[in-house]
């Protein structure tokens, strides 16, 4: 189980690096928020994998908060893009 969790976390970290490339390159704000949203998803996955390694439920609030923040943040930025566009 240790090995599997390590593999999962390394791969998810790799995915986060890929998403970071898109977040840096852009070119539009929409691209960046898509990439940052994905990074939060990957982070939540890595946290969930850690709870399998340690066999604890202590990370559950983290999972819930990360998925909530990812959603709220994405909606906020999407609204901001539309608002900025109509200015």
């Amino acid at each position: 189980m240790e090995t599997v969790v390590t593999i999962v976390q390394v791969l998810l970290g790799l995915g986060a690096v890929l998403a970071l490339i898109r977040a840096i390159r852009g070119p539009s704000l929409a691209d960046r928020i898509i990439a940052l949203d994905l990074i939060l998803f990957l982070l939540a996955g890595a946290v969930a994998a850690q709870s399998a390694r340690e066999g604890t439920q202590n990370f559950v609030p983290v999972l819930l908060v990360v998925s909530l923040v990812a959603f709220a943040g994405t909606v906020l930025v999407a609204r901001f893009i539309e608002w900025r566009d109509t200015q």
Binding site: A19, A52, G55, S67, V77
Partner: protein, 274 residues
Amino acid sequence: MNVARGVGAGLMLAGTVFSVLAAWGVVNFPSPVARLHAATKPASLGLALVTLGAGVAAGSWALVGIAGLVAVFLFVTAPISGHLVGRAAYLAGHAGNLVYDDLAEADSVPLRAGEPYRGGFSSARWVGMVVVWMLMWRDASVGTAIGGAAVAAVVETMRSSYPRGANRNPRGLVVFFWRYAAMVLSSNLRVAWEVITPRNDRIREAIVAVPLQTVSLPAALLVANAVSYSPGTLTVELTDHPMVLYVHVLHFTTTDEVRQQVALIERLVGDAIT
């Protein structure tokens, strides 16, 4: 026990593969809305599988239950953020190279809020929620009761101003969720395949207007959600008067094909809720 750990490890690895492919798609796809296809479908299935696998591997039913909650939350919210970001990207002029575009000549009317929930504020439900809150905290002190009363009042106030729920048909719901799961899987495999094969020349992006037959708001929202999880399509706008769904397509061939795909989903939804 060992079986559970094996299954859990398999689920986590499968979820990881989908998550990494989502990241690769976000880097590789040609336009923001195309990248949303990758960021919406495989990313939410990937995270759902990883959390579910973690719960199974840890052998904890509580963790599996929470993972299920996280998964439901993801499958409700991912298409909403996809819809909002897709529409924002389109309005900001970053829609990419569209071969066909119905949204350009749309006169968008905001979606109505729906008729208010008929029951209004229910004290019985409020007290019930406080009891559940105290049970969840396993604490019957006054402080817990006050905190619970505050949270329950907020929840019930929001609920009483929320659009009225739909009439449900249990048999239709079972069929719908079965087909929904199949759609999630096949759409993920299709996006994954598109990510793996390196050339992007088969991507022909388009936005197609699909008039909906239904007039029920909950049914329209469920169609909008399911369309985002069906292969190759993503909801980018839903307008009212008339109710029209604007669907972004990754592999555009004909408008009729898209409309038939949505009509099939709408029929499934219509059998489940009205």
